[in-house]
Amino acid sequence: MARSFSFWPTLTEPLIRQNPVTLQILGLCSALAVTTSLATALTMSASLTVVLTLAAGIISLIRRHIPTTIRLIVQIVIVASLVIVIDQVLQAYLVEISRALSVYVALITTNCLVLGRTEAYASHNGVVPSMVDAFGNGLGYSLVLTIIGGVRELFGRGELLGRQVLPLAEDGGWFTPLGLMLLAPSAFFLLGLLVWAIRSVLPEQAEAAEHVPPATAEPAE
């Protein structure tokens, strides 16, 4: 290992500063699809974190013996098997939530976040650093999902984790649910606002503009 490993930065960097969703814009499909309620977002976060951590550990353990030519397929096989096992466990013990997550648990396999971390980090680093890094990235993903899921459920239904928080207008309260929050576009809006907020606080995350518009030509006099 070339770099020395320090525990805290590896764990906490991916939370905000190197967040896989808001900085690297990875794993969006599931992040947008399962955040209509906080419960599904939390279950999805937990599943992804477990899969990511275990996959990173296993791949890091055998990293010296994975032939380069087949390394991607080996990684995908390991990730896919872990995902199937998790999916089966969810179907056995958390039936309702497993139905709400439907195909998205199975799609963790193709989540770029998982393959990105195993390929970029776990295949070059020791077991402990890899698992810490994976866990940190899982937490970063979970953080974003929890925020978006919480906001969507709160404003879309006036509930949090299925419990009524804001009194609904139809039951005599003052809150009218925003139907848009339960539709897919709202996840895009919220994620965009979140990225904007983070990049305003941490300007070094903002990417340089790829194209510079031509200066407006002064009308000839």
């Binding site: 055998i62 010296r64 013996h65 994975i66 032939p67 380069t68 030519t69 087949i70 397929i73 080996v74 096989v77 390991i78 896919a80 098997s81 872990l82 199937i84 096992v85 089966q88 466990v89 179907q91 056995a92 013990y93 039936v95």
Partner: protein, 264 residues
């Protein structure tokens, strides 16, 4: 190290990663370990998953019964229990040898299935079991409600449902879809209560005993029709065929006649 290592495992690991033997070996080992993990999880967890599905079906049956107007009162009168009967679909009577406990084993035997010819196979199933488990609710001696499980080949796969018929065996009391894989947002609306709400009160046959039930294109206009689902013609047709097949002579027909004769 003095001399070559005798341990074959260590010799295998010491091979250069790019060698053919090691590439094939690692691929094989990884797949084997993953295969064991996946099959192990599936086999170990299957009993729990099966129990979950059974509990879910039970819950749906209860919800279906509760949804039928006046049914909760009726349930309380009869002690709140449905009787479970295994029918011999060929004769329409209760099966002599098969009980709910042995039904699964009986259906695993191919001899207890009847192949359907293409003309009569409205539901697209190819074959139907000779035995079916139905739930009956009695009022005094008479059957006041029958819950009949049915299935049909839908647009994306098999649809399983339970149809509730009133005591006259002609008026639908409700429909519950227990399993389907129709297109989300279109055909999948068959599991929405708002669509199913159209079933209660719909009649199946006219006075002459002719099968008239249909899922309408658009809004229902006769007492024999329920509203169709826009954009899901194939799913709507599948539901129509399901009801027509299962209440017809190859399905529960003989049983319905037996109930009408007062044999149950």
């Amino acid at each position: 190290m003095a001399g070559p290592d005798r341990n074959p495992w260590r010799r295998f690991l010491a091979l250069p990663n790019e060698s053919r033997a090691k590439t094939v070996g690692i691929a094989f080992l990884v797949s084997a370990v993953c295969a064991i993990a996946v099959s192990g999880a599936t086999v170990l967890l299957r009993p729990i998953q099966t129990a979950n599905r059974a509990a879910e079906e039970q819950a749906r049956i209860e919800a279906l019964v509760r949804g039928v107007p006046g049914m909760s009162a009726l349930l309380e009168q009869s002690g709140g229990t449905l009787t479970t009967v295994v029918l011999d679909l060929g004769t329409g009577g209760a099966a002599a040898e098969v009980t709910p406990e042995t039904l699964e084993a009986a259906l695993a035997d191919a001899a207890n299935w009847t192949a359907l010819d293409a003309g009569g196979d409205l539901a697209g199933l190819g074959q139907r079991p000779d035995y079916a488990q139905v739930y009956l609710l009695r009022e005094g001696e008479d059957v006041s409600l029958a819950l009949l499980p049915m299935s049909v080949q839908g647009y994306n796969g098999r649809i399983d449902a339970i149809l509730a018929l009133r005591g006259d065996m002609n008026t639908i009391a409700g429909l519950a879809v227990t399993r389907h894989s129709e297109t989300p947002g279109l055909g999948a609306r068959i599991e929405e209560p708002s669509w199913q709400a159209d079933f209660p009160g719909t009649e199946v046959r006219d006075e002459r005993g002719e099968m008239r039930f249909a899922v309408a294109r658009g809004e229902a206009s006769t007492p024999f029709e329920v509203d169709g689902i826009t954009g899901a013609t194939r799913t709507s047709t599948a539901i129509e065929r399901m009801v027509r097949f299962w209440l017809g002579p190859d399905g529960y027909g003989p049983f319905l006649r037996a109930v009408e004769r007062g044999e149950f």
